[in-house]
Point group: C2
Chain length 589, copies 2
């Protein structure tokens, strides 16, 4: 492709909304153009990148025995009601809904469990037809609370989603492992530095699930790592460092704490360490058909993991009680809610169990109690795991190990969702014994655009993007030093022709060399071939890799050079087709 023909544009200015590097670079290099909040146009350059990512995904999916389908984007409301997710998703306002002219309601698909289950039901009737794995690569919609970070979190985005159907939990586990391996291969081929972490199923399902997290400081997720075990902060179980609670119980006393509502200030004023303070938080649990309130106690030095709260109470959402609700329910206000004389269901994190002689609020404004003890002074709560893990906590999975934290970008997610959807939609098959049983299902996703953006987060420098060879939209950037010199121009064109099979860009624009090379580096082209006065007469060209490595290669060696530096598979040949053609050649067809 000649740059004078390529539809692209580079920008010096940093786009005002770009909070992270990948967003900034993809806009500055003209890969994406913003149409509106969370909506991006993929230009020819970006579309080439995304097609290459998709091609790699397809190869590995097909290799793993999955079959590609394409499912509608408009989903009838009734179908989502049958799984119970219509209410679930609309309560969170994550679903775009549409009416047709006959006032039938649809949602714009954020995921396809219901549709795929509908598709498979009645078509797969026997255990003999299992396992089955179907996938697609297409647009998904999500009415994000805060669309941001470019391709990371958009209103619509490109995704690979796949679904497996098995006859048993054993076969399901095999399918899960097959996808786990296929996903690992995909992200390795993309050159991503990633970690597989235990995860929370979220709105998809409550079974086993893991995320593929690309390490990146700009990532929205926090990954807790302890030796070989990794887990998303959202799902992490952990044990805080030991704190020695006193044994002899002291007498409970009331102290005056006017206007002191934060733990920090309370600790400072009373000289009581936060580990000895019980913090009580009032939550509203939102269900499809009701709302309930619950109070949860946590050690003063720690925070509550609200996802654990939602999971514990099986609620759709969990929000903090408002000032008004707090007043109505406890008669006190924020900062002074506590377990004493509380007329509400009261739970506490399990780390609060050993607490003795602790300080707590008592639903009386400007007052706290010290030396409070469970049972003696207030009812013993029901304990549960509501703790937000922290770096330095012990990891229950690794004896003696403690967690370190790292930020990550969730590029893939695999789930064992059991029979949640097949039960709801009555999707059955006949077992070997002639009985009807619901499919065991798995669901597997890769954010295609997000994966490309994660590559940029991991691979860039101050000059621009450094694409891995596999998904670089073009592999070579060829330019004469000056377009005024006919010999150089002819040399560049000769090279362009010689290397036409290696996805070259020829910069035929009438611009300064420095300007052109800046564009090449910003775009992230792996190799620059510079045709200058010094060597063109000797039919040699200077080559510089994006990493800065320099070579001088004669025209006659160029194709050999290119074919060693750019393997066939990186040019989008799939393995099957290469061997196929080789077979044809052998037959002289």
């Amino acid at each position: 492709m000649k740059l004078s023909k390529l539809f692209f544009r580079t920008f010096k200015e940093v786009p005002c909304e770009a909070e992270i590097t990948s967003h900034r670079l993809l806009e500055q290099a003209g890969y994406i153009r913003r149409l509106g909040k969370g909506l991006f146009i993929y230009t020819p350059l970006m579309w080439r990148v995304l097609q290459k990512v998709s091609h790699i995904i397809r190869e590995e999916m097909n290799e793993a025995g999955a079959q590609e389908v394409s499912l509608p984007l408009l989903h009838p409301k009734e179908l989502w009601q049958s799984s119970g997710r219509w209410d679930d998703f609309t309560a969170d306002h994550l679903l775009y809904t549409v009416n047709d002219r006959e006032r039938h309601e649809y949602c714009l698909a954020p995921t396809h469990e219901e549709v795929i289950t509908f598709l498979v039901s009645n078509w797969i009737t026997s255990y003999k037809q299992l396992p089955l794995n179907l996938y697609q690569i297409g647009t998904k919609f999500r009415d994000e609370i805060r669309p941001r970070f470019g391709l990371m979190r958009g209103k619509e985005f490109l995704m690979k989603d796949g679904y497996s159907f098995s006859d048993s939990s054993v076969m399901m586990e095999q399918q899960y492992q097959t996808m786990r391996e296929a996903y690992s291969k995909i992200f390795k081929r993309l050159g991503l530095d990633f970690v597989i972490v235990a995860a929370h199923g979220g709105k998809i399902g409550q079974g086993k699930s893991e995320e593929f997290q690309a390490r990146a400081d700009a990532g929205e997720d926090v990954v807790m790592i302890c030796q070989n075990y990794s887990v998303n902060l959202e799902a992490a179980e952990s044990i805080p460092p030991y704190f020695p609670y006193e044994k002899p119980l002291k007498k409970m006393e009331k102290i005056s704490t006017p206007g002191v509502i934060t733990i920090e200030e309370l600790s400072k004023q009373t000289q009581v360490v936060p580990q000895l303070i019980l913090k009580t938080i009032l939550y509203k649990l939102i269900y499809a058909d009701k709302e309930e309130f619950v109070a949860i106690g946590i050690r003063g030095d720690r925070a509550i993991n609200e996802l654990k709260v939602a999971t514990h109470f099986s609620s759709i959402e969990v929000v903090l009680a408002t000032d008004e609700e707090t007043k109505t329910l406890t008669g006190s206000s924020f900062g002074f809610v506590g377990p004493l004389d509380l007329k509400l269901r009261f739970y506490a994190d399990r780390t609060c169990k050993p607490m003795t002689n602790f300080m707590a609020a008592c639903n009386e404004i400007d007052v706290h109690m010290i030396n409070v003890n469970w049972e003696r002074d207030c009812p013993r709560p029901e304990f549960g795991d509501f703790l937000l893990a922290e770096e330095g906590d012990a990891c229950p999975q690794v004896p003696g190990g403690t967690y370190k934290t790292q930020r990550g970008i969730e590029v893939g997610h695999i789930f064992n969702i059991g029979t949640k959807y097949s039960d709801a939609l009555s999707a059955n098959f006949q077992t070997q014994e002639g009985k009807q049983r619901c499919f065991y299902m798995g669901t597997y996703g890769i954010g295609v655009g997000r994966t490309a953006a994660a590559c940029v987060e991991q691979r860039h420098d101050e000059k621009g993007i450094i694409w891995p060879l596999a998904i670089a939209p073009y592999k070579l950037f060829i330019t004469p030093v000056t377009i005024k010199d006919e010999i150089q121009v002819a040399g560049a064109e000769k090279i362009y022709e010689l290397l036409k099979h290696f996805e070259p860009l020829l910069d035929d624009r009438d611009e300064r060399l420095g300007f052109k090379l800046k564009d090449s580096d910003l775009l992230g082209v792996p190799f620059k071939l510079i045709v200058g006065k010094t060597f063109v007469n000797e039919e040699k060209v200077e080559i510089e890799s994006r990493a800065g490595e320099k070579m001088l290669v004669s025209f006659t060696d160029l194709v050999r050079w290119a074919s060693t530096h750019i393997p066939l598979q990186e040019l989008g040949f799939d393995n099957a087709k290469v061997s196929e053609l080789e077979a044809f050649k052998r037959l002289n067809i």
Copy 2:
């Protein structure tokens, strides 16, 4: 692919909603599954077909110099308002609209003129960067009045849409011709019998436009053909057969016609031929901001082309006046509206100009006037072309020629839309003379799913689909006569392995041969390879083409047989990649 693994199912029952063959066969052969009205799932078989169609489109588009992009499906309302099409489309209720959580409004894209113009503006700044042609293949949405005919008319559908940008009408015409040729190549490669017809621009634009119509009795469009000239009925100008109107004007008289409201009955009762009756129709013209009424006269033997009416009056839509409106406006009722004493704007089709001594209603119930004459008896109307063409009419484009009619499926459409969108969105470039000018635009579309369905309409028999080789999802159907015979099974597997590069299906199901061959024919696989007792010991296989041609081929000749019957290009190799690999082979890389 082994059939025991392929996710597919065939049906004996005709799906109840299938009104046309392609819908019926695609459902019966398991290519599509209906999710809801106008919503279809593409199974692995159908997705292979659609990918093959898309591949051919991409090859020809890239060859013609177009570049692929991908544009969002959610379009901000403001952008569509700037072109004036928000009101235009919503008035027709063709647009699905969506609100996000911040109450911003979007539409689901039915077409992308606004977005592509937005993309190109500020990126293309100089005439030197022109022409430019961008395209995409993706989902479109349309809130159809009557979703039906399977993939022909759905609520969402797969489409290739492309847009060209030029610096002048001359360059625009070149782009138009380039796309016209590329489209012709595409439909030829798909083996479609098609005709290019002059068309009405519809809601896209009013410039020159042509449709690619696949001939098919099930087609929704009527094509008027006169030698080399073809035109969509909607857009056809025509001249009805000559009728000798009398010269001496007779005296106008009132006659009683109680309850006679159709032309047919009127003609029968009065013995006046329909050519001598003036029919007057009351229309409501709908604009974005108002509604207006107009009466249009037409010869009694002919019908009005309502699209011509809408175009003539530049209204968004045209609907018949209701009974109530008719009464309010004329004091009379349906069947008795006429040009005499009419308090409304009155137009007539130009074929009414020579009418003399004609019969007409006079806005008085149960009464008609005979021997009416223009000017003498009623005001001479403004004449225009409102005539719906008919077979046998003379074609103004071909001296002496008359039209024949044929039904067609619109598989492609190309438009010269001039500066409609670039004007509206102020999308300018700098001319060679340094002036700012708006882009001259073209827009080009192919219905991808509809094209595949049109292939089925043209190519099927009582047994099922007959895919053209280029888009058959699998090329070969290999089966042993009986799965009980190990030698036959081994033979079939050997052939399957030998021909693995030629997209074979191996039927390894435990079913009767007749059942299997029926499936193969229903699916439309081009060749059946039947491994039977008689020949398997001689290492020979019976081959039967879908057309019924039979061959006996020895195992050793099979690859050669396959490679002569199934060219590389039909296996999805693109031309560039084939020559590329050949080049590598020559270099022994």
